[in-house]
């Protein structure tokens, strides 16, 4: 299966929470902003990019999988998503604190880590976002360029080096 990834466009996000509502609904059967694997960060009322979608980027070299003391985070070969095996997870939250993006969260009811699993290959948030702030694109050249542009807007935290 071709590699596809969630591409984020924060400049299009209007902060409507639709992605968060549907994510928690399909994963947990209730609408709950704190049980959503995708989160909208609202900046403190300043700047143009006021609403920033934050979701796991399924890193190629994930720190979450490194730190997991139960080996509970592994790659689903079909979707390319890093998935938490809930029956292995003990809820220590080391992955939650180590992730640089805030892509891994804690499911306070189940007591284990939770993160985007790309809904098995057909992400629901993409379908619910009517502002095209989230796309699910194949990682061909165009896809990568688009994703990088989105990352550019997100701030490319890893590129900030003032030497």
């Amino acid at each position: 299966m071709e590699e596809k990834a969630l591409v984020l466009h924060p400049e299009r996000c209007t902060g409507c929470h639709a992605c968060e509502m549907i994510c928690s609904l399909v994963h947990d059967g209730e609408c709950n902003l704190t049980l959503s694997r995708i989160g909208i960060m609202k900046t403190n009322g300043g700047g143009s990019n006021e609403n920033i979608p934050i979701v796991c980027q399924q890193c190629h070299d994930p720190i979450c999988a490194d730190v997991c003391v139960m080996g509970a985070i592994s790659r689903n070969e079909d979707t390319g998503a890093l998935v938490v095996k809930e029956d292995l997870c003990v809820g220590c939250k080391t992955c939650v604190i180590a992730c640089p993006l805030g892509g891994v969260l804690y499911h306070y009811i189940k007591g284990c880590a939770m993160k985007c699993d790309l809904c098995g290959g057909d992400p629901e948030c993409v379908k619910s976002c009517l502002y095209d702030a989230i796309e699910f694109l194949p990682m061909d050249e165009w896809g990568r360029k688009t994703r990088l542009k989105g990352a550019e807007n997100l701030g490319r935290i890893f590129e900030i080096v003032y030497k």
């Binding site: 209007t14 902060g15 639709a18 509502m21 609904l25 059967g29 704190t34 009517l130």
Partner: protein, 654 residues
Amino acid sequence: MKVGGYAGQILTIDLTREEIKKEPLDLNMARKFLGGFGLNCKLAWERLDPKVDPYSPDNMIFMGMGPMLGTAAPASNKHSVMSKWPSTGAISPGTAGGDFGINVKLSGYDEVIIKGKAKKPVYIRINGDNVQICDASDLWGKDTYETTDMLWEKHGRYYAVIAMGTAGERLVNTTICLIDKCTSWGKGGLPAIMGSKNLKAFVACGSKGVAVADPTRLIERMRRIQERFEGYPDRQKLIDLGTMDGFASWADIHGMSMNNWTNRLPTEEAYRLYNTDYYLKNISAGRISDPTCPMGCKDHVRVQKGEYAGTEAWVSSFYGRVVHMAARCQVGSYEKNVKAQEFFQRTGLCIHSYTALIDWAVELYERGILTKKDTGGVELKHDFETTMYLSEQANRNVGLGGILSQGFKKAIQEIGRGCEKYAVHVKGMEPLYDPRINRLSSAEFNQVVNPRGAHAPQGASTLYMSKDADPKGYRDWLEDRGVSKEALKRIFPRSGYFNIARLCSYAEDWVAFMNSVGMGCLRGRVDNFFKGEDWSEAYSAVTGFETSLAGLKTAIRRCYNLYKALNVRAGFSRKDDVFPDRWFEPLETTDRGTKVLCDYFGTPLSREDCKKLLDDYYDERGWDTETGIPTEKTLIDCGLEDVAEDLKRRGYIK
């Protein structure tokens, strides 16, 4: 089947006693009155003294969240506040979107009731089970933006904040609160009520969930609704423009009255100063949506260059605000327009309301009824300086600006000298739409009969009627929303005509319904893509109560009648449902000739015609045509026997 949608709790906060009480929500009552606006009406009926002084500690604030609020259903974000407003004396609602309502729902409450008065400035914090009355001494004296920033700093940005500005602290009536600096709530003086309670703000952040009884069914319906939006070719344009997508409508096709309802803002000037290109280039800074709204319209604006560069504001119904500053105040440039808006937003002055009073004051000054003695030596004109001068006074509740800021009822009393002759208001509130320019359509007619007073748009009707559009569209809409065949016959008795009064009653019902279940929006950019069955499907899927559209409509007729009954008890009747005198005077425009009050098809309407329309309206509602009060039969038919009893006992129903 599990029950979803309703959180199951009513939260009451007594500021005098510093008590926080939680009681379970009676689900039978919830089904009868739906939630949100409807639930507010029911609880206000039971708990609020209809004769209470709005500033008294015994006045209460009811905040209702509908069952759909906080779910994934599209456009499920509206929550409703109800109180006795100081500017009108009416018991009526205000509606808003924004993040506050969903966070109250996610904290586990369907309703929040505030009563009493705190000894010193406080704000209320709602965080799930943890509800606190907190010290607000460092917030008092701060404007809405400052207050919100300070509360975000303290509690984190994930909290939604309702802030009242400095005007409310001084009990100014023509004020609103802002949710997260953007969404206005409580036109008619919510800040004044809060000020009288020493209540500065609310913050809410919830981490519980809203249960959904049948997620699959809800998602199926959601996808259908979403597809309709996605299929609309001009979708991106509407998102880019926000409410400015209505620019052509107000600048050209319809129009905005100016000079206190004696003129019309010339189309050429409107285009010159406020066209959408300029908006996109120099004003628009971002688009904000209400929760789950598919066609978000709220604005983040920032003047990029020129005078007042850097002025920044967050505004809902931006185009409406632009129109008021442009036509009523005639402030001039777009930049001045935004600058004035920013001042109003920060202080909490209501742009809809206060600009009308400024407009009136200028005419009074021109006529010599107000002199420099009243103005403090300043000449009143339709310009930016006058606007800022009077609103600055209003913020401090001093001088002429302060008098005006109490709203028409009190200002007329205080000024006297025959000023009432020139005041255009209904029940003390300021109409927006001029039926001479737009023809008497549903929004215009609603201004006369709305128990709240002339209020638009949240209290009005969803059917935005564009002149010369085929009325068949309205018929289809009414049918889709479940209006009976008999009623349709009464509304459309013959071709080439429809009865706006009868039609309006169903449009009003629909808005009230949306504000009760917490889903839907009266803006065309959203409502045009919804069908009536979306609501019955979504409501059934979320709550687990299998309800048809007809069942829902029965509930809303019930709510609306109760709403009316609340205000009957507060002393309102037919005598208050008035067409402003000025509407019967011809409107001389500079570019569109002379306009007179006429119906949708251009047929002029006399006072007699309007009187007849009112009769038709009451008849359609089942209210006594003489008094405008719901009849006993009407009340009993919709399950309000106790209300009928009460009104009979008080002598309102014979």
